[in-house]
């Protein structure tokens, strides 16, 4: 299981080599991994459908109750299958869609890492590891949205997505930690059985609100929805994968996952349906107003996310059943539609749906996929989307809170849905042929296999609904709702209210479809109103932050090394001095007993060298005297039996002198620029820092606040670390994680120097 989750990361690391080896055909090789994962997860289906769970746990940071543990039950299995299954087609598709792109290897690296993070997220059984994977999806999606990094719009959209989701992630982290501390464990499987403890605690409202901020930002609920349509700046396969089938559903996943422990309260039953229904309607309404095919699809994704949030909020067994059915139906048709949109864009050179027409003859397979998927979205029988919609109506009718409000919005959304489904299925493919920027052609195999397969699956699930129900949906409902009494998915429910609502929505939807152009033109004035939406708030906040950053940069980062030093040292004097004089008793007891001659000589040497460095008029002289100070310190280390420190100091000094020599000749001539007053000020600061630290050291040697940790290292170095050199054992064993961080910093510094000197942005643009 661990390997299944991590395989994506490992393969991502191997991409550069594979790319050299396979070039353009690499997508076929890479797609084998998600395909294999799909088979692997599918092999658990009988077991999970029978009501079992698979739990695997690895120790990660056991001292903090953080495990790398995975839980495979109905819910996580359904997500895992969607992620790896759709991922297979996405990889195939991308190889063809982005064929010959310079950054293609990067794309594969990020999308594989994303897939692995997403798998980790849905399989995690520990709140902390879930959060880590959660953030990883935000970061990898940032890379993917900003894939066309030469374009300002891409970078801006990527940053917006990142800031919104990561900002929400902060709230989520606080919520998860609160929940973990209330429940007394971070293991999700245990928390789910402790729902009452959390619901009864005084922190429940806080936990719920924090977690909702996190999930709403990730799943783009109103008013945090604005990042999602902008994320369409990403290449189409990314939009298809992240922004329809997987990442945005992470928030919904978490809500469903935590339903047993957070749900079933009045707060839950009101907030979720309220925001969900608003998002649902807003999304569909905005979709109806758009003409760019990717924008339309992005807004319908908002609709889907809102619907799912609403259904989970309603929380009856039927509603959860409807949510799981809708989730599956949506993943199938939306991924398929996005890929179709990519093929259309690729083939015609435009994204504007009003500029396409009569493509059915030229692109028969794409047309087939588009029609099936769009009808499923519109909720027309016998497609799977129809079953989902019937259940949606039924669940809303049965809800206990806000019933009429939810019903009105749901029906209105369904009407618009029919119209939009019609627009996508019919507009580009039928009617008169229109001139397009490039000559249209059928998509290649790698690009039609995905949409065609997924759309056909949507049809199969509609015709044979017991297959998805027995196979996965029943188990998924069990893990969210706790129990499951068969609700028998079926196309024919008899003449009842949901069917009436369906018929009514189709009738109105057809009218809306024919009036699409006319109504859209009438709604143009809304643009001005929307300019004051939540996105404007985001822009303002960002501007404010930039302004503050610029202001403090002007003040603090003034570009003069001498002022940097002055600021740092003055702050140091202020903070350390304040603490030292208010909190402790400074001691000024010089004790020269036991000082050896050689030590005194070294000390005097260091002082003299420092004085020379500060007063000399020769730059080379200054470099040499600073070197003398360094070597003097190294000698002190050696005298007090710290050979490792001594050697390191000597080597660092040597290299510093060498580096200085390299840059010495590039510096301008030595000049006396500073006034006497400025020098006096510097001297005062220097003497103050020196005295303060002398005082600090003298005080610190007298004071023992805690038992020193060094004793532990001395005692355990040999038995535990198998080494006699304590410094080294600390570096590579006891504190290896710190060292790892340090070498990463070192590497960054090297890259920084390299980039500053070598990299020219103009050379990058070919």
């Amino acid at each position: 299981m661990l390997l299944a989750v991590l395989s994506g990361f490992l393969l991502a690391a191997a991409v550069p080599w594979l790319y050299k080896l396979l070039q353009g055909r690499i997508n076929w090789a890479l797609a084998l991994l998600p395909a294999g994962l799909t088979v692997y997860f599918a092999s658990f289906m009988p077991e999970i459908a029978a009501g079992d769970q698979v739990l695997v746990s690895y120790n990660w940071i056991p001292s903090l109750d953080i495990q790398l543990s995975f839980l495979l039950d109905g819910l996580s299995l359904m997500f895992a299958l969607l992620i790896s299954g759709i991922g297979t087609f996405i990889l195939l598709y991308a190889g063809s869609y982005l064929h010959g792109d310079r950054d293609l290897p990067k794309f594969y690296i990020f999308i594989l890492a994303f897939m692995a993070s997403m798998l980790g997220l849905v399989l995690s059984n520990n709140l902390i590891s879930l959060f880590v994977f959660w953030e990883l999806t935000s970061i990898t999606s940032y890379m993917l949205i900003g894939y066309h990094h030469e374009q300002l719009k891409s970078r801006k959209s990527a940053l917006q997505g990142l800031l919104v989701t990561v900002g929400g992630g902060m709230a989520l982290m606080a919520g998860l930690i609160l929940m973990g501390s209330v429940a007394g464990t971070y293991e999700i499987s245990e928390i789910l059985n402790n729902g009452d403890v959390i619901r009864d605690s005084g922190l429940y409202t806080g936990i719920l609100i924090l977690i909702l901020i996190g999930t709403f930002s990730k799943s783009a609920q109103v008013p945090l929805h604005f990042w999602l349509p902008n994320a369409m700046a990403a290449p189409t396969p990314v939009s298809a994968y992240l922004h329809s089938a997987t990442m945005v559903k992470a928030g919904v996943y978490l809500l469903a996952r935590l339903n047993p422990s957070l749900g079933e309260t009045e707060l839950w039953h009101t907030i979720l349906p309220l925001f969900g229904a608003l998002t649902m309607f807003t999304g569909m309404f905005l979709a109806y107003r758009s003409t760019e095919i990717k924008k339309i699809l992005a807004y319908t994704t908002l609709m889907a996310l809102g619907t799912l949030t609403m259904l989970i909020g309603i929380g009856t067994e039927l509603a959860i059943g409807a949510a799981m059915t809708f989730l599956l139906a949506h993943a199938l048709y939306k991924a398929s539609l996005f890929l179709v949109a990519g093929s259309l864009d690729h083939s015609t050179g435009t994204k504007d749906i009003t500029k396409m027409g009569g493509l059915a003859r030229i692109m028969p397979i794409t047309t087939y996929a588009a029609i099936l998927a769009a009808l499923s979205m519109a909720g027309i029988a016998p497609l799977f989307g129809f079953i989902a919609k019937e259940m949606l109506f039924e669940a809303v009718l049965e809800s206990n809170y806000l019933t009429s409000f939810l019903l009105v919005l749901t029906v209105a959304t369904a009407m618009l849905g029919v119209a939009i489904g019609g627009v996508i299925a019919l507009r580009p493919f039928f009617g008169a042929r229109k001139e397009t920027p490039s000559k249209p052609h059928e998509a290649p195999f790698a690009m039609w296999i995905g949409p065609a397969t997924l759309a056909t699956l949507g049809l199969l699930c509609g015709l044979l609904p017991f297959l998805p129900e027995r196979g996965i949906l029943s188990a998924a409902v069990t893990s969210v709702y706790g129990e499951y009494e068969s609700f028998y998915l079926t196309l024919w429910h008899g003449f009842n209210l949901p069917l009436m609502l369906s018929i009514a929505s189709i009738a109105v939807g057809v009218l809306l479809f024919f009036g699409w152009d006319a109504i859209r033109a009438r709604l143009l004035w809304l643009d001005k109103v929307f300019a004051y939406g939540p996105e404007r708030g985001y822009e303002k906040a960002l501007d404010g932050m930039n302004w503050t950053a610029q202001w403090q940069t002007r003040v603090l980062q003034n570009g003069y090394l001498r002022y940097y030093l002055l600021t740092i040292l003055a702050t140091l004097i202020g903070l350390v001095g304040y603490t030292l004089f208010t909190g402790y008793e400074p001691r000024l007891l010089f004790d020269f007993v036991g000082v050896q001659f050689i030590e005194a000589v070294i000390a005097i040497l260091i002082v003299l060298a420092a004085v020379v460095a500060a007063t000399t008029h020769s730059r080379l002289g200054a470099v040499v005297s600073v070197g003398v100070v360094g070597f003097g310190v190294a000698l002190v280390y050696v005298l007090f039996s710290a050979p490792d420190l001594g050697i390191t100091q000597v080597l660092v000094e040597t290299l510093t002198v060498l580096l200085l020599v390299l840059v010495l000749f590039r510096l301008p001539e030595f000049l006396d620029l500073s006034s006497t007053a400025a020098r006096m000020r510097d001297a005062v600061v220097a003497v103050a820092v020196g005295s303060l630290f002398t005082l600090l050291l003298l005080t610190a040697t007298e004071l023992q606040l805690h038992d020193p940790i060094s004793q532990f290292f001395v005692e355990n170095s040999e038995p535990e670390g198998h080494g006699r050199n304590i410094v080294n054992v600390i570096l590579v064993d006891f504190r290896a994680l710190d060292t790892l961080g340090e070498i990463f910093v070192l590497a960054l510094a090297a890259i920084g120097v390299y980039a500053m000197i070598k990299f020219r942005a103009e050379e990058y643009k070919k």
Binding site: P62, L651, H722, L731, V732, I743, L746, A750
Partner: protein, 143 residues
């Protein structure tokens, strides 16, 4: 770098470079018990190559290094990180739990191989690679 490379310096550098590299590896290997380790070893190695750079020029130093120092940095980071997960995969223990193996090497007899040593090798490569990246970049800017 300088217009006239000194004969003494270049002859010395030719001899000193292999010695210093050997010494740096020696420091790396003995680090666990005696003064040394990846950090110090990497710095000694870097000073050897830097000496070579001063005696000849940057392209000669690059050639002597055999590997692009930037690649070395990356490889070092990968090795150091992977050494931490050995325990996780082999025994299911937390990240960076050290693993020890006794290895029999024909002439030298029993040797201790461990994940901390592999980690230290990563540190060695990162230190050597980083310092050489900086030095070579600066030197090439000079030329």
């Amino acid at each position: 770098m300088t217009s006239m490379p000194s004969l003494i310096l270049s002859t010395a550098a030719r001899v000193l470079l292999p010695l210093l590299v050997l010494f740096s590896i020696f420091l790396l290997l003995r680090g666990h018990d005696l003064p040394g380790g990846g950090f110090i070893g990497g710095l000694v190695g870097a000073s050897g190559y830097t000496l070579y750079l001063f005696a000849f020029d940057s392209s000669a130093a690059r050639a002597a290094l055999r590997m692009d120092p930037r690649t070395m940095v990356g490889l070092g980071l990968v090795i150091a990180t992977l050494s931490g997960v050995i325990g996780t995969f082999v025994r299911g223990e937390p990240f960076f739990t050290s693993q020890w193996w006794e290895v029999y090497v024909p002439i030298f007899g029993e040797m201790k191989l461990s994940s901390p040593l592999i980690f230290d090798l990563g540190v060695y490569m990162v230190v050597l690679g980083s310092v050489m990246t900086i030095v070579l970049t600066l030197a090439e800017a000079e030329e």
